[in-house]
């Protein structure tokens, strides 16, 4: 398949997706305001998938490790925060949780990554699966396994927008808006960090080429600690947002599984890919669930994202923004 055909197919794929997304309105199946609510809801959950996907991409870029433990880290961060908040004010608990995530990153680098350096990708992947199991058990042993409500003072009441344009207006939860805003800020901050600071530049150098980076004196081990800390912090933000939406509980972990189609759709090595992939997946998932789901018996949310990503990969194997890979013998 040449590049041109690939591009045309990509365009066709997105045209089809967009057509599928607007078809309920065009066919008169849905009211416009209700449809807009679904779209906004989809984009909001997409933002949250992006947050988890972001953590995955950061680690994959810097160390080539496909970190399955990201979901466990989200759960662990949220659990730590919620239990610490019982004993101290929010700011202190947040600071302490950040310290915990950094220590965790350091321990992972010291105890797991360093001994496994130069192993194959699959072995490292299995190691992160081991970390995920460990964090699950450890978090629930130390912090308990009940469902905790996380209240960080985000307003819960929904807002009604555009009341004049539509009958009844569009219902949007304020919490979702704040979450989206937070996620946006996070991405902006990360971009600045990567583009403008010395450490960020070092991180990008490591992502490009481990050996070259090492040869000009960038300490790989320290970079790995930094990158795992950063994705620990991203996990914490994701944990706060998801936790205050759904309550802090074991099922938070499963959010990470949703982040996987996001990263393969966007490309494993691309930060913008994680964001845009998240939005596409969130949107597609909600629209398909609401309008297509009833025809198929419901619950298609669980696999729709994967099938979408799978079809896309068939004609664009490196995802939307992933690095094109050329094999040489």
């Amino acid at each position: 398949m040449n590049a041109l055909a690939e591009r045309n197919l990509t365009i066709a794929f997105f045209v089809l997706l967009a057509a599928g997304a607007v078809s309920p309105v065009v066919l008169g199946e849905a009211r416009l305001s209700q449809w807009l609510e679904v779209i906004i809801g989809g984009l909001m959950s997409g933002v949250l998938y992006s947050l988890v996907a972001l953590g995955l991409v950061l680690i994959f870029k810097a160390s080539g490790v496909f970190n399955f433990a990201q979901g466990a880290m989200v759960l662990f961060a949220a659990l730590s925060l919620v239990r610490l908040m019982e004993k101290m004010p929010f700011v202190a608990a947040l600071a302490l949780t950040i310290v915990i995530m950094v220590v965790l990153a350091w321990l992972i680098e010291r105890l797991v990554l360093r001994p496994l350096v130069n192993q194959e990708g699959i072995v490292l992947f299995m190691a992160t699966l081991g970390i995920a199991y460990f964090l699950d058990g450890f978090g629930q042993t130390v912090w308990g396994s009940d469902i905790y409500t996380l209240n960080v003072g985000m307003p819960k009441e929904p807002k009604i927008l555009l009341e004049n344009t539509f009958e009844g207006g569009i219902l949007v939860s304020t919490e979702d808006l704040i979450a989206a805003l937070l996620a946006g800020l996070m991405v902006a901050a990360l971009t600045l960090f990567f583009q403008k600071t010395g450490t960020g530049r070092a991180l990008r150098a490591v992502a490009d080429d481990h050996q070259a980076a090492q040869s000009i004196g960038i300490p790989l081990n320290r970079i790995w600690v930094i990158v795992w800390s950063v994705s620990g912090l991203v996990a914490l933000v994701a944990g706060i947002i998801w936790g205050s939406k759904l309550g802090v509980q074991f099922s938070l972990q499963l959010v990470a599984l949703k982040a996987l189609p996001v990263v393969i759709l966007g490309g494993f090595t691309s930060v913008p890919g994680a964001i845009i992939g998240g939005l596409i997946i969130g949107l597609g998932e909600k629209v398909s669930e609401v309008y297509l789901g009833p025809l198929l018996g419901g619950g298609i949310e669980n696999w729709f994202a994967y099938v979408l990503a799978l079809i896309f990969l068939l004609f664009r194997p490196e995802g939307l923004f992933g690095e094109r890979h050329i094999d040489r013998v």
């Binding site: 199991y133 996987l260 018996g297 669980n302 994967y306 099938v307 799978l310 995802g319």
Partner: protein, 354 residues
């Protein structure tokens, strides 16, 4: 000294190519088989059969299937649970809808259905590799979870969503007691292990391994990547489908889709990696390790006299399991099969220093 091949000359091609060219291996394997078929049924307790041996054998069969795909052909799959589910539910539907079908035919057909679906989900492997493929195979997993939970036809319109296998019998002999079940499973697993061993050391196995080591280079020397990859998916899914049918019919009896969720896929991948990628023996060792470890971890607090709540034990169990996986990967990334090989190497000299 014990394990020394000195003096064992091979004078024909046949003797050079036999399954176990070294006499000690042959004796050991034959002895093990005689012990497993002849002695274990009399020595074992019900707990040993139901909690350890039967799960171990069935999961070892699934692990062999996965090892063919991941270890020999290098295509990482996280959809193993789905293929087991397809095997299990095809077997169930065949048993319920087609009267008087022989049990072996049911199992073989269950494998065939899993093969068809496996090849279907293997098609993306022609374009995508590595972790992209691993995530893509998760699509199979979640699709199967949904399909068997939501489409009522597959569960024969059972209201609770859980289904039960009919009583098992083969050629008029009932397979009811743990010993009978054990012997039945053991016989099937032995046959399949033999088939897998022979496939992997034949032309097709070499094509798989060449594809694994470098697919572009393999294509250059004349191996058809499509045939190699899809045949690996087909053979692997067949094994896994049969294992799924066995797991459902013999081990579980009655089950729901949750029995084959994504954790099963991870569990099998653990077995393959801990046992050793690209090794039939490794699949058995890995399965034994993963089956026995939770049982030991579960009993450990009681043995040590530490009273802990059940929830606490299960959390600590998960934690220790995760830590052990990491520890194991660090100590021996090539798996238990590798340790075994090192041990054999040592046995050539032992107990002498030179």
């Amino acid at each position: 000294m014990i394990y020394r091949e000195t003096g064992q000359f091979k004078t024909t091609y046949a003797s050079d190519q036999q399954l176990f060219p070294i006499v000690q291996d042959r004796v050991f394997v034959i002895g093990l088989l005689i012990f497993a078929f002849g002695a274990v049924p009399y020595l074992g307790t019900e707990y040993l059969f139901l909690a350890i041996l039967i799960p171990f054998l069935i999961l070892a069969l699934a692990a062999i299937g996965l090892n063919i795909l991941v270890g020999y052909c290098g295509q990482v799959s996280l959809g193993t649970g789905a293929f087991m589910a397809i095997g299990a539910y095809s077997a169930y539907n065949l048993a319920v809808r087609v009267p008087d079908l022989n049990l072996l035919v049911i199992f073989v057909l269950a494998g065939v259905f899993a093969t068809i679906v496996g090849v279907l989900f293997g098609i993306p492997s022609l374009r995508i590799k590595g972790f992209y493929l691993a995530v893509a195979t998760l699509a199979a997993q979640f699709f199967a979870d949904w399909m068997f939970a939501r489409i009522k036809w597959f569960t024969n319109d059972s209201s609770s969503g859980s289904v039960s296998a009919p009583p098992l019998s083969l050629f008029g002999y009932a397979i009811q007691t743990p010993v009978q079940q054990y012997l039945f499973v053991l016989a099937i697993v032995c046959v399949f292990a033999l088939v897998a061993r022979n496939l992997t050391r034949g032309a097709i196995g070499r094509a798989w391994m060449a594809t694994r080591d470098m697919d572009v280079a393999a294509e250059v020397i004349g191996i058809r990547p499509m045939r190699a990859k899809l045949s690996a998916f087909a053979v692997s899914s067949f094994f896994i489908g049969v294992a799924g049918a066995l797991w459902a019919f013999v081990r579980l009896g009655s089950w729901e889709p949750l029995a084959f969720d994504v954790n099963r896929s991870f569990q099998l991948l653990f077995m393959v990696i801990i046992g050793g990628l690209g090794s039939i023996l490794g699949s058995f060792l890995g399965a034994a390790f993963i089956v026995v470890l939770p049982l030991v971890l579960n009993q450990l607090p009681t043995w040590l006299g530490m009273p802990l709540s059940t929830a606490m034990i299960s959390h600590i169990e998960i934690m220790v399991f995760g830590a052990l996986i990491v520890f194991f990967l660090i100590v021996e990334p090539h798996g238990l099969a590798r340790l075994w090989a090192i041990g054999k190497e040592k046995l050539r000299l032992w107990p002498f220093p030179h």
